[in-house]
Symmetry: C2
Subunit: 431 residues, 2 copies
């Protein structure tokens, strides 16, 4: 008998309403309520219990409820105080837990819903993005002991003064992992509309395969894959508290992908997956003085403006005491970053600023890279044979990333995937 935390997101509970037109002052607020979705989840929970397991369920707000409530708030005020936003937002998950408990009861599964406050999810005193300080397990344990399936509101907590807080982006995933850690659950299952984590996006590369087991560190590097299947914050949390994650589909009963602490045989896998980011931009400051403090000045100013810089490359190969500094930013920040770079060029008396708003990043990820020296060269060779020019390179212990022109991204993903998929040790292969 195992103790399992099951997390169901907004899409499992309702309709995100993609494609429907909705303005903030749309007279009808609230997400779509689809009873069948609740009943479907109740059947999954029931099936899990019938296998002899104990289940703790945690849920998000249904469908696009959170977005719609935000729109309501903004129709009253431009910059709503975050305390009141949290007061409003937390109702989304509270509705979900009550309805989920009813669906479970209706399916013959004794259930009891709990808000974050009730279950004792204590957070720091910060609205909008509080971190969890402590979870008391008393209520959960006694509910489980009495045979109930507890249904816990995700995304929310409470301060010692009973103020309602939310955990920020990906907060419901954090709740699930934190609950699993607190009650020592065997697994924390994330029910999604995908089968698991894939070696790359199957829409780009048809030979992409579902990964059976992957380490936390690899998962963090692959976080960009699969349309944000898991938020990196919750993966880090799981890693720190050693919580086994299971990303699986709510559409069928097949196992998905297990995210686990690194295992010795994982080193045999050279490349676990090929990740990519579209929508990046590159800026190069040419001919700035090669003296201490220049880089600090450049990236200090960008940071102060709230611009997140991803890759940085400083070319020190020039022979004229001048430097070229290249960096990448999210495309949304491109215009602002370009403007700032122009100012910096003037101040630093640099020669020129060159910008490219249409680049992309492709990365090969795998803990096996530590012990296999040829991964980089195999990756570069694959790109070269596909006639893809590499503009920038950055590496970490378990990742190699290349910046390329965005128009060649899909070719690049396929080329790298093909280069490693025949590898006997490529993830998913059994030899």
């Amino acid at each position: 008998m195992a103790l399992i935390v099951q997390k169901y997101g907004g899409d499992a509970l309702g309709d995100k309403g993609k494609g429907r037109v909705r303005s903030p002052d749309d007279p009808l607020f609230g997400a779509q309520f689809i009873p069948e979705k609740y009943k479907h989840i109740a059947r999954i929970v029931k099936r899990t219990r019938e296998k002899g397991h104990q289940v703790v369920v945690t849920v998000s707000a249904m469908g696009d409820a959170t977005d719609r409530m935000l729109a309501m708030a903004h129709s009253l005020m431009d910059k709503p105080p975050v305390r009141e936003l949290d007061m409003l937002m937390t109702t989304g998950e509270q509705q979900s837990i009550a309805l989920m408990a009813l669906a479970l009861e209706a399916a013959g599964v004794p259930a009891r819903s709990f808000t974050g406050l009730q279950v004792g999810i204590l957070t720091e005193n910060l609205f909008g993005k509080a971190r969890i300080r402590e979870i008391s397990t008393e209520k959960l344990s006694s509910a489980l002991d009495e045979g109930y399936t507890p249904v816990v509101a995700g995304f929310q907590g409470t301060t010692e003064e009973s103020e309602l807080t939310t955990l920020g982006r990906g907060g419901s995933d954090i709740t699930a992992v934190a609950l699993a850690a607190a009650i020592n659950a065997d697994t924390c299952e994330f029910y999604k509309d995908v089968d698991g984590i894939f070696t790359t996006d199957p829409r780009i590369c048809p030979s992409a395969r579902k990964i059976e087991r992957i380490s936390f560190d690899e998962m963090l590097e692959l976080a960009s894959l699969g349309a944000g299947v898991l938020q990196s914050r919750s993966v880090e949390f799981a890693k720190n508290y050693d919580v086994t994650l299971h990303v699986r589909s709510y559409l069928h009963d097949e196992p998905g992908t297990l995210v686990v602490p690194e295992e010795p045989e994982m080193e045999d896998v050279v490349v676990s997956g090929v990740a990519f980011n579209r929508g990046e931009a590159k800026i190069t400051l040419l001919g700035v003085p090669d003296r201490p403090g220049v880089a600090a000045e450049v990236f200090g100013r960008l940071g102060a403006a709230g611009i997140l810089v991803d890759m940085i490359i400083q070319d020190i190969a020039r022979d004229d005491d001048l430097n070229d500094i290249s960096f990448t930013v999210s495309r949304a920040d491109y215009d602002q970053a370009l403007e700032l770079a122009e100012k910096l060029r003037e101040e630093l008396k640099g020669s020129r600023v060159v910008g490219d708003p249409s680049i992309a990043k492709v990365s090969a990820v795998g803990v096996g890279m530590r012990s296999h020296a040829d991964v980089a060269s195999r990756m570069f060779k694959a790109l070269g044979e596909a006639k893809i020019n590499i503009q920038m390179i950055s590496t970490s212990e378990i990742k190699i990333s290349c910046v390329i022109d965005e128009s060649q991204l899909e070719d690049a993903v396929r080329a790298i995937h093909v280069a490693f998929e025949s590898d006997k040790r490529f993830v998913g292969n059994k030899d």
Copy 2:
């Protein structure tokens, strides 16, 4: 400077959606959100504060949110556990307080929202219709001291174990009165879409006038007037805790009706108002034995079936050791009551059961009746002159009620109103 509790109901906050067709599985749940309604209330609160008063606001769920959530619950389960219903329902008021606080902040009024749990509305451990045990004033007082306008969720409370409870029908009004009692407010204002309490329904009797001041007891007797303007439970609560109520319109700034402890000069007012109930039914058991226990048997059985009996008349004028027993019930209960009466007739060997499903009750109410002996005769005379047959009569210290044929109800209301409105001491008159 006064301390005022202001209560705004669902119609002040949203659209009840009357006339719109909605099925329980209507894909769009939630009430209509109308930002302008929140902004309008914010202006009333601001105006009150600008007069130098301190304000505590309490709100219901907006529009038909509560009904719609009930429909959602029932689409999952026939008889949802009340604990989970309360979990669901309390989100309605929580959304209202957050949005109300935002509207106030946007209007430049520092505001802070509080759930029932946060403000410390402690109830008994009973879901769906808990009674308030205690209200702690600490949070409210310190919010007021810091210059905030507290916005408190109506209808909800919490047990000592942090379980969320609701107060049952009219619960938001109870919250308002209880808050006013707890913080010793000078007035508890109810903002409605009517100007106040009227001497009778102006739609039936054009000469109906707004009552300026009325006693709690009279208000209780008139509770049926004005489409349930005030729930009797909250009036009783106000009477017990000596809280002055002010029923007024949110559409303009004119004063409405004050409901206050009885004042000596109120005795001068013979009739304060003419109330009525449609939708009643009468049943008569003819020729049942005139022996002890028969009435107890009859009404015990009706009560056990959950049928609320209003008026009872037992005619002991017969000379054959047999009795006639007449009683009135709500028309919704008529069929069931008639069936039961038939059974009782058989068991008691009564002669006949006579039923009339289309009667109505008209009542004259006024504390002045205690000191004016002629009210009953004036009322009967007025009805007689209008050729209205009185079927049953019942009286209390401050009320005379007559059961009549429903088709004559409006004539009866007008006749009684006219009989007393020329009276110098009729409410609303100044001499």
